[in-house]
Symmetry: C3
Subunit: 271 residues, 3 copies
Amino acid sequence: MLSADLYSFVTRVRGHAPLVHCLTNLVVTNFTANVLLAIGAAPAMVVAREEVGEFAPIAGALSVNLGTLDVPQSRAIRAAVDAANGAGKPWVLDPVAVGPLTFRTEFALELLDLTPAVIRGNASEIISLSGGAASGRGVDSTAATDAALDAAQILALRTQAVVAVTGATDYITDGRQVVALSNGSPLMTRVTGVGCALSATVAAFIATATSRDEHFAATVAAIACTTIAGELAARDAALPGSFAVAYLDRLASLDENAFGQTLVMRDVALS
Amino acid sequence: MLSADLYSFVTRVRGHAPLVHCLTNLVVTNFTANVLLAIGAAPAMVVAREEVGEFAPIAGALSVNLGTLDVPQSRAIRAAVDAANGAGKPWVLDPVAVGPLTFRTEFALELLDLTPAVIRGNASEIISLSGGAASGRGVDSTAATDAALDAAQILALRTQAVVAVTGATDYITDGRQVVALSNGSPLMTRVTGVGCALSATVAAFIATATSRDEHFAATVAAIACTTIAGELAARDAALPGSFAVAYLDRLASLDENAFGQTLVMRDVALS
Amino acid sequence: MLSADLYSFVTRVRGHAPLVHCLTNLVVTNFTANVLLAIGAAPAMVVAREEVGEFAPIAGALSVNLGTLDVPQSRAIRAAVDAANGAGKPWVLDPVAVGPLTFRTEFALELLDLTPAVIRGNASEIISLSGGAASGRGVDSTAATDAALDAAQILALRTQAVVAVTGATDYITDGRQVVALSNGSPLMTRVTGVGCALSATVAAFIATATSRDEHFAATVAAIACTTIAGELAARDAALPGSFAVAYLDRLASLDENAFGQTLVMRDVALS
């Protein structure tokens, strides 16, 4: 994959301003919307079961995040996913804290059968979804991302989704190929919602894909865009409050030159 | 209307610190509260149907925003509006994304009968509320604000509310007079919740009105204060993360001199 | 109490990264999570009644905030408190706006019987909880903190909790001893959620206590850390938007030297 091909998704998002329907958690709604606006997409957070079906054909993609799942939201998510599938719109699953918590884990496993285009999680979450016994303690991953690579491949082959395991190194696989990205900054873990907003960014990027074949490249591009903006923002600010501000600024101002010069990507041989 | 008369509402809000009860969407609660604090008002986000009635007499005004409406919130809103009306407190309606979504559109039409003091929306929303066929795609307006001016006038005459259509140019009408404001910055659309928080700001300003006759001027003042702060903040910051910070700072530090020198206001002849 | 002993809790939180389960209000979820990350703790906002019980043994402490209480959340809070007590994890009660609102006041009074480790509120809230007639108008306290000192002592003796009344001067008591802290800045009241996030910070600090005997010192340390960071941030920024950013930065960068040099603490004789 070439840097210029990845960057073309950044340009597409800015040009098309895809409307991203987010059913996300209560902690990150605002930050997610601001990240989507910073990259040039348009956020929409319609939440009611009564409305999500009607909204799916209007939106370009759907992003589902289980961070503060409860029963009413699980019903809205099911309706939204059905409507997205019915309207031919791709959707992203962010299985926050799946593993130690039974309710969301069972719900996430149900969702796996509803053809997500992309699944993005940390190592613990991806290991749990693939059937392994992970050691997460909620939102934190206690497993390194490389330990989750096998799990990601299994999950991708089973679901036909692109699977992304994000952490210090990010792995993206469709079950046949794997790309590793090594950009970012530890400061990204000191601001709540960076990972959750990344899932919405992935949704914005795949909304601009011309076919399912582009979902893999779009996901790599979204993660590269996010982690490069984070890495550049860490040059502007060393502490989390000002880093969060710089991060949004860097997302909005990212250009092809900085993208290409900062990107650290390699192909990984599958086992 | 004189600049000094408009600015007097800024002074009143800072002096009285009106308590603004907000029933708003999940994306903008935090930003709305911070905007209200920046202008010198006091936010209160009591949400439960069990409590909104008891809270109405304590609050100075109520701000209702339909951005993430669901059934429980619709019940709380109805109870809060009834209580505000019962207690003689003015309330503001922000009909987010009304038009393409049936559930909220029907609910917004019901609310029109409950004597809102002010209705603030984008062009698509105001056209929809007045019975026209708008072309919104949710939170974004795809219609220019001037196209909504007729709709705003119709809506104002029918509801006896002040109606504000905000966009690049803002129009405020009570059905008999129209004022156009042309301040602001495109960056205001790159930060989520600026429009939603403006509705709460309108509520804070009308809370200081001595009679219903002042609602028109108070609404113009609230929108002028908001767009002037945005225009000044865009001189401080060119990217959305730092703009949001500068915007809150400019709201808090706005003075009469800068207000008067920046204000671009004109009367519009009604058709 | 020595400054070095208080600061040792800051070091412990950074070393252990305690997982703090927050059931808090819709306005401050994001800011609370960012404050917890800034001090080195790990936020977790599991909200569903179905999950809170399972989560209690994983978390280090629980923080309960009644700011936007509704019936579903009251059920989740009851389940979470029972589970925390069952798992031997301490919990903090933040009785936002208790007094004028019946639903939350009755609920807060119920919670008093469930052995909170710490109760943190403003003067009006603490007076209301102790059975007095306070004059709050919701989230704002209209009573000075010293007027609440008697009420705090009564409440501490009755509940066996540490009680903190925060305001321009903060009082912390376990019913037998009282410490007064006089750090901070008026800007802390211009950013929404500083007080609510402080309650979560107290939860993070008591999560590192080796026994219940340390809860008093941990609470003093959490409030000192918060108000000192606020006081230092006010040297960096004079307006609320930039102050909020500086506040998070100061929380993250607070060192023992600045802590010791800034701390203004005194013992208060109990009546």
